[in-house]
């Protein structure tokens, strides 16, 4: 089989894109120049270029389905012709198997005689016939074909492809399996390679098995009896999966193995199968394709380890092991890549819903593993030393939930006083990963500058505005860290596929790569950078610590010698509970390593592991935190006893700094830096604290007669959903300035006197003023995730719910006469505009065929709403006459960003291109003239769906044009 050749593919892709930039006549010479003697490469690229023009429209339209209920196909005839039995081959899962000659076609086939339990019960027979036909359609190179069903003298036989070779069982164990093993290789004395299958070969075979099973699953066929004895390796190395689906017990037949009452006959019958039965199968629960995933895991394990994953002295013990245990992963050879181990844990997951979902993902993991195998090997000493420790870590994890060191996630006021925070940088875009030079006079960081998508490492003197780029814009240079010896800066260079650990001198010279690695996989995107901090220096500057890396067959946190040499594993990831390591930091004396051990972007625990003088982990990792949080950056305090940790929870996606005792003797304290903070760095003396801060995001903008300006009400928090009161004096808006869930605030029109109106624990939003500018309607999320609509008087702040049902109602608006409140509801089963009397009462449905966010015109004659265009993500703005007239489509609209004024409906038209920042047109549609005019164009990285206009239409406010930016901040004299 062809190994995936990623480098080749990349070469093809690059040449293809480069050639496309040239005029067609110039392409051939270009390819000749760049492909040299590689004719295959040139032909490959040329053939792609030849398709380029035609491919322009190809796949651009989404596929269509035509309703055409067709009658079921007629059953095919199963007349195949006479077969002459040549030899008895053995007993298969369901009956005796013979070698037979098809005299018509002159070929040999396998005939499998079926037991009477299949042939005598009509229902089963039909089912069998149907399955046989389904299998006949499974035309797959790795599935032994079924030629048909033969019937004679009351006996039924399956006619099967005869595969010459040995079974996988024979390949591993040398003994004769129970199925169709035949041909020269099966004979004793023939080629007898036994024992574990080499990793690459095993992965190749596994890939073929997965391909076969995946194809079968797509046809709704489940194998249910996959085992090494059912996989043939032909003499030419082809892989064939046998006995497809037919061994499956029919419904009603007991499948449970009662280990107390195993009769000898049944015991013998399942002896060959038991080790591959899934837990649900063993327990007699319904089985499905996920049972095949389990069995596949068993087969892959057995190939690699040379022995079954679950096998006991007898069936009873085997079954107990399946139900109670996990396979002995330590029995896998060291050369088995990390991803394969991970894949095994995912396939051999006892809960079916937690298993690897399908064989497509299995195959992807195999392909990636084959790539991993091409990576540099790790030092052997480290490997043997650490696999034991890895096992210990796993054991510890199991108890971790009980033995947790206490930790408190507290929202209580900070114990530490705020200190003065000054900006270190205020460049455009995102600056991240500040790291101080040892004398704390300079700092390094990552920034894109003018090279979008290619961050470079920059160095800047504190107090000097100019940043100097050290690295060329080739990939993404992230996570720079200044060495304690001051001479080097280490960083990670990423492209789309690979990562490398590099060092460069602090003057930008002598860049060199220390190691290539694969990133462990979690994407944490913060402030434009999608990589957590992953590097730390040892205090003596001899080692770099690299976290979240996959090198060779191991994943975890590595120690990489700066002066060359193989990386060695410091802490292995405790799969499957932990699948990423982030934010490493080494204690000032070099005697401990702290890092975040993560099972998800927002599920990391801070762990500390002691290090010995050889910079080797010398004990078990200790957990400092009990609750899963995002961890984005840690720094060890110079006292060696405390850590500074940037954490956030998924519910409160705001990073804040916490001071934690490294021995977990005290609860963490929040460090107040007057705002969000992540990727903290401390100077060597601990007096300077640097960190990243996202400067917000969401602001209010005014558009006044075509001019766009920021609204003075904007804060450093997220302010959006702005609504201007009809009398023009006040605004209501949604904000997170209280730090928790979003709430409704009001302010004067210019933003002064901001005052909260609502208070709660779940997000409120979408405030709209009543026509008399006295009341507000808004929506609020409820505990079960649905929203409800409320009305509130800002003076007494006592919200009253308008509907009593629970369908998910949101985005309320007022009718022009304030008698009704329109809202969005799923009450009818689809999203429609509804209305309810403003004083309470029965809701009424307004739209019939889908509609969202109804807004009445000021004269009450038209209702504007929007509807998604079927098959696209576009929304159309619609006007409907409330006097009973029809609908009229106006234009594309950006979600519900429309509002009414005397001159018509104002709306935001979404950008058409794919450039960032994107251009939104602010338009107004005049219902009298039926015409649209553009009043302003607004560039935004990110638009909130919200617009408000003054009654005369001259002033519009847009909830939140986002100009996301990340800056580096510093606290002087940090305590």
């Amino acid at each position: 089989m062809g190994m995936p050749n990623l480098a080749r593919q990349q070469q093809v892709s690059e040449l293809y894109h480069a050639a496309l930039l040239l005029e067609p006549p110039a392409r051939t010479p270009f390819l000749q120049r760049h492909c040299g003697s590689d004719d295959g490469l040139r032909a490959e690229v040329s053939s792609l270029l030849a398709c380029d023009a035609e491919a322009a429209d190809f796949l651009e339209q989404s596929p269509s389905i035509v309703a055409n209920p067709s009658p079921p196909a007629a059953s095919i005839g199963s007349c195949i012709g006479p077969y002459q039995v040549v030899a008895h081959l053995g007993a298969g899962g369901m009956g005796e198997v013979y070698r037979a000659r098809d005299s018509r076609l002159g070929r040999d086939v396998a005939l499998k005689m079926l037991p009477t339990s299949v042939t005598t019960v009509p229902d089963r027979q039909r089912r069998f016939d149907r399955e046989a036909r389904t299998l006949a359609a499974l035309n797959h190179p790795n599935i032994a074909a079924i030629y048909g069903v033969e019937e004679s003298a009351g006996n039924r036989a399956l006619v099967l492809e005869l595969v010459e070779g040995q079974t996988l069982h024979q390949r591993i164990h040398g003994s004769v399996g129970e199925t169709l093993g035949t041909g020269p290789d099966a004979r004793p004395g023939a080629r007898t390679r036994r024992g574990p299958v080499p990793v690459r070969e095993a992965l190749g075979i596994a890939d073929r098995i997965a391909d076969a099973l995946g194809a079968a699953h797509e046809q709704g066929v489940v194998h249910r009896d996959l085992k090494p004895a059912n996989v043939m390796i032909s003499s030419r190395g082809a892989v064939k999966v046998l006995d497809f689906g037919l061994a499956r017990p029919f419904p009603g037949e007991p499948t449970a193995v009662d280990i107390r009452h195993l009769d000898p006959v049944r015991s013998a019958a399942i002896a060959g199968t038991a080790p591959y039965m899934s837990p649900e199968q063993v327990m007699g629960r319904p089985t499905d394709r996920r049972s095949d995933i389990w069995a596949f895991g068993c087969v892959l394990y057995e190939m690699l380890a040379g022995r079954p994953a679950f096998a006991g002295a007898d069936v009873g013990e085997t079954v107990r092991r399946i139900l109670d245990g996990v396979p002995d992963y330590a029995a896998l050879p060291g050369a088995v890549p990390w991803r394969v181990r991970h894949l095994l844990t995912r396939c051999l997951e006892r809960q079916p819903d937690r298993r690897q979902p399908d064989f497509t993902s299995v195959q992807r993991a195999i392909a990636e593993s084959l790539l991993d195998l091409e990576d540099a090997p790790i030092a052997d000493a480290a490997r043997t030393g650490l696999s034991r420790r890895g096992a210990v870590v796993l054991g510890v994890m199991a108890c971790a939930m009980i033995a947790l060191v206490s930790s408190v996630w507290s929202n209580s006021p900070a114990a530490l006083l705020p200190q003065s925070v000054v900006p270190l940088t205020s460049l455009e875009g995102h600056e991240n990963y500040v790291s101080f030079s040892p004398d704390a006079s300079r700092f390094a960081f990552s920034w894109e500058g003018d090279n979008v998508g290619h961050e470079g490492v920059y160095v800047q003197q504190i107090g000097v505005e100019r940043a100097v780029r050290l690295t060329r814009p080739t990939g993404r240079d992230l996570s720079p860290v200044w060495s304690p010896r001051a001479d080097l800066i280490a960083f990670v260079r990423q492209d789309d596929v690979r990562s490398g650990l590099y060092v460069v001198s602090a003057t930008g010279a002598a860049e060199r790569k220390l190691v290539d690695y694969a990133s462990a996989g979690l994407h944490t995107c913060l402030g434009g950078c999608c990589l957590n901090r992953v590097i730390a220096w040892s205090p003596d500057g001899r080692w770099l610590v690299l976290s979240g890396a996959v090198i060779g067959s191991r994943a975890g946190t590595f120690a990489v010698p700066v002066d060359g040499g193989a990386p060695r594993l410091l802490v292995e990831m405790a799969l499957p509970l932990i699948n990423d390591h982030v934010s490493p930091t080494v204690s000032p004396r070099g005697d401990a390593l702290a890092y975040g051990a993560c099972s998800g972007e927002f599920s990391c625990f801070v762990e500390v592991v002691p290090l010995d003088q050889q910079f080797v982990a010398s004990g078990r990792p200790r957990r400092l935190t009990a609750l899963p949080r995002a961890v984005n950056g840690m720094a060890w305090m110079p006292n060696g006893r405390e850590l500074l940790v940037a954490q956030a929870s998924v519910w409160l996606n705001e990073f804040s700094l916490w001071r934690m005792d490294a021995f977990a003797r005290r609860a963490p304290e929040r460090v107040d830096v007057a705002g969000t903070a992540y990727y903290p760095a401390l100077s060597a003396d601990g007096r300077r604290l640097g960190f990243s801060r996202r400067t917000f995001d969401v602001n209010l903008w005014n558009v006044e007669d075509g001019r766009v300006a920021i609204n003075p009400a904007s804060s450093t928090h997220s302010d959006y959903d702005v609504n201007l009161s009809p009398d023009g004096t006040r605004i209501a808006f949604t904000t997170d300035r209280q730090g928790g869930a979003s709430e409704i605030w009001i302010a004067d029109r210019n933003g002064s006197n901001p005052t909260p109106v609502t208070q709660g624990t779940l997000s409120a939003g979408s405030p709209r003023w009543s026509p008399d500018s006295r009341l507000l309607v808004f929506d609020r999320l409820s505990e079960d995730g649905r929203a409800h609509v409320y009305v509130v008087d800002p003076r007494d702040r006592q919200p009253r719910r308008l509907t009593s049902w629970n369908y998910g109602d949101w985005l309320p608006t007022w009718s022009h006469d304030a008698r009704w409140v329109y809202f969005n509801s799923a009450a009818s089963g689809s999203r429609e505009v509804w209305k309810v009397p403003a004083g309470g009462g029965e809701p009424m449905r307004v739209t019939e065929h889908g509609g969202s966010v109804g807004v009445e015109s000021l004269d009450g004659r038209l209702l504007y709403y929007h509807r998604q265009v079927a098959g696209s993500s576009r929304d159309r703005l619609i006007a409907r006459s409330l006097d009973g007239g029809g609908e009229r489509e106006i234009d594309d609209v950006f979600n519900w960003a429309y509002a009414v004024a005397q001159d018509g409906v104002h709306y935001l038209r979404p950008p058409r291109g794919s450039s960032a920042p994107e251009q939104y047109d602010l338009c107004v549609w005049d219902p009298q003239a039926g015409e649209t005019r553009v009043t302003a164009t607004i560039a935004a990285e990110y638009m909130h769906a919200n617009l408000t206009v003054s009654g005369d239409g001259h002033v519009a406010m847009i909830g939140a044009v986002d100009s996301a930016s990340t800056d580096l901040m510093m606290v002087e004299n940090f305590r």
Binding site: S64, G220, D353, S603
Partner: protein, 191 residues
């Protein structure tokens, strides 16, 4: 199925809870199939239904749209794209088998026939070609899956795959040419 559960699962999943994904997939798949059946019921033959519209509809029904971030929408559509591809291909394979007078596998999409510009054979061939592409360029194949079967925009695709929009465009362009060549059976294939 309440709106809240899927919304919460989406949020959990984005938060790194992988089990949430395992719970989401069957919910979304069921809804897609249910919608397809529902929309087909009583329709005369020849009625056109766009899978991407189904995906949208499933999204609107299952998810509290206002309360999830744009990113979660992309994730939802990414899952749905995969499921939609599977449903279409399952169905196409079934049709294909029928036409050959062969089996009638137990797929649950019996009411639908693929048609329009794509024959079942073409859908199956496209799926095969996509699988072939995935072996050397998994990401490119995923881009096609999300864009074609899921109707994701370039930006949503970029987000779902955690790559830049520019990369999505390049992958998309390359993959289309590659697939077209495969489907045409151009003599020059990779070994």
């Amino acid at each position: 199925m309440s709106d809240g559960a899927v919304t919460a699962l989406l949020i959990d999943w984005r938060a790194g809870d992988r089990e949430a994904l395992d719970q989401l997939i069957p919910l979304i798949a069921d809804e897609l199939r249910r919608l397809a059946r529902h929309q087909m019921a009583g329709e005369r033959p020849g009625h056109l239904l766009q899978p991407t519209a189904l995906v949208n509809e499933a999204y609107l029904r299952l998810v509290d749209v206002q309360r999830v971030a744009w990113k979660d929408r992309a994730h939802f559509f990414a899952i749905a794209a995969r499921l939609m591809r599977r449903i279409l291909v399952e169905h196409a394979r079934a049709q294909h088998a029928d036409k050959r007078g062969g089996a009638h596998p137990p797929v649950t999409f019996d009411e639908l026939v693929l048609g329009g510009p794509e024959t079942p054979e073409q859908i199956v061939a496209l799926d095969d070609a996509l699988q072939a592409l995935a072996r050397t360029a998994a990401r490119k194949s995923e881009v096609v899956e999300l864009r074609y079967f899921g109707g994701l925009t370039v930006e949503e695709t970029a987000h779902a795959l955690a790559i830049s929009a520019e990369t999505v465009m390049r992958d998309w362009k390359f993959a289309k040419a590659w697939l077209l060549r495969e489907l045409r059976g151009a003599p020059n294939r990779r070994a």
